[in-house]
Symmetry: C2
Subunit: 141 residues, 2 copies
Amino acid sequence: MENQQMSPMRKHSKKRDAILRCVRSTTIHPSAEWVYQQLKPDYPQLSLGTVYRNLNLFREEGAIASLGVVGGLERFDGNPNPHVHFVCLRCGAVQDVGELQLPVELMQQAEHYISGEIEQCTLSFSGLCSQCKSGDSSPHC
Amino acid sequence: MENQQMSPMRKHSKKRDAILRCVRSTTIHPSAEWVYQQLKPDYPQLSLGTVYRNLNLFREEGAIASLGVVGGLERFDGNPNPHVHFVCLRCGAVQDVGELQLPVELMQQAEHYISGEIEQCTLSFSGLCSQCKSGDSSPHC
DNA sequence: ACAAAAATAATAATGAGTGCTATTATTATT
DNA sequence: AATAATAATAGCACTCATTATTATTTTTGT
């Protein structure tokens, strides 16, 4: 059993820092493309691939979280602590519902009924956000 | 306000029936591709586009449900009644947790904290299924 | 400054899903 | 049963989010 994969030494990168700062500085739960557009003015040489690569890196190490795919785009969350979300089915806007607790007590119960080991609990609500409810036809997220 | 879009008269189709039967006959929460592969032997002329089109049709009219994207593939559920799921983070297998109730009472509470109207509640657990836990490296879903 | 290695830019490639159109199947009507 | 109207499909082109590739640039230790 040779060639134990050793993770390469992490080097510092200004763009990587900026990407993390960007995701952490908003609650809109952005896509890679959104982060790219935000940083483009300050980093004209930034490449979309770099945004994708670093977002995945941060997600893998738990620095940020992924909400999964909403309307065809993977959405990220600068707050990696599990919490409840509300997703608009029409425009894809995501809101935090920080006031509600996740039903973590159900995790142990659920494990009795499935074959496997439960690690995470995801609770989210969906419907229409106020703007979409009031017939706003312009995209706003 | 003319040209009220009138939905075209629905005609019967053997393939459409087979697609619905296929999704309803399993609990693996299949992807379009899986349904296509299942039906191919019995319907050699079946087109993947037809599977996509009809799955979307059934989802829109509420005959089936979508679990969203798991590992890059949209997964469907022949049981349109909301219920709890367990998703394996490694292989993407989905199990029902029919014994647990959805915390629907939280829907009203959540609506106090967000701006919008909540319609649905989604609760799912994730982790490693038993096969993936025991180091099974072959795909099994 | 120099060398080694990690990070990036630019671009090609991938692949799930959708759109398009000629053909086929279904249904109602003779 | 033939006909006509139209819905559904097959086959394939296309879109577009994401990943892979590679030559170049940046970082970091010496």
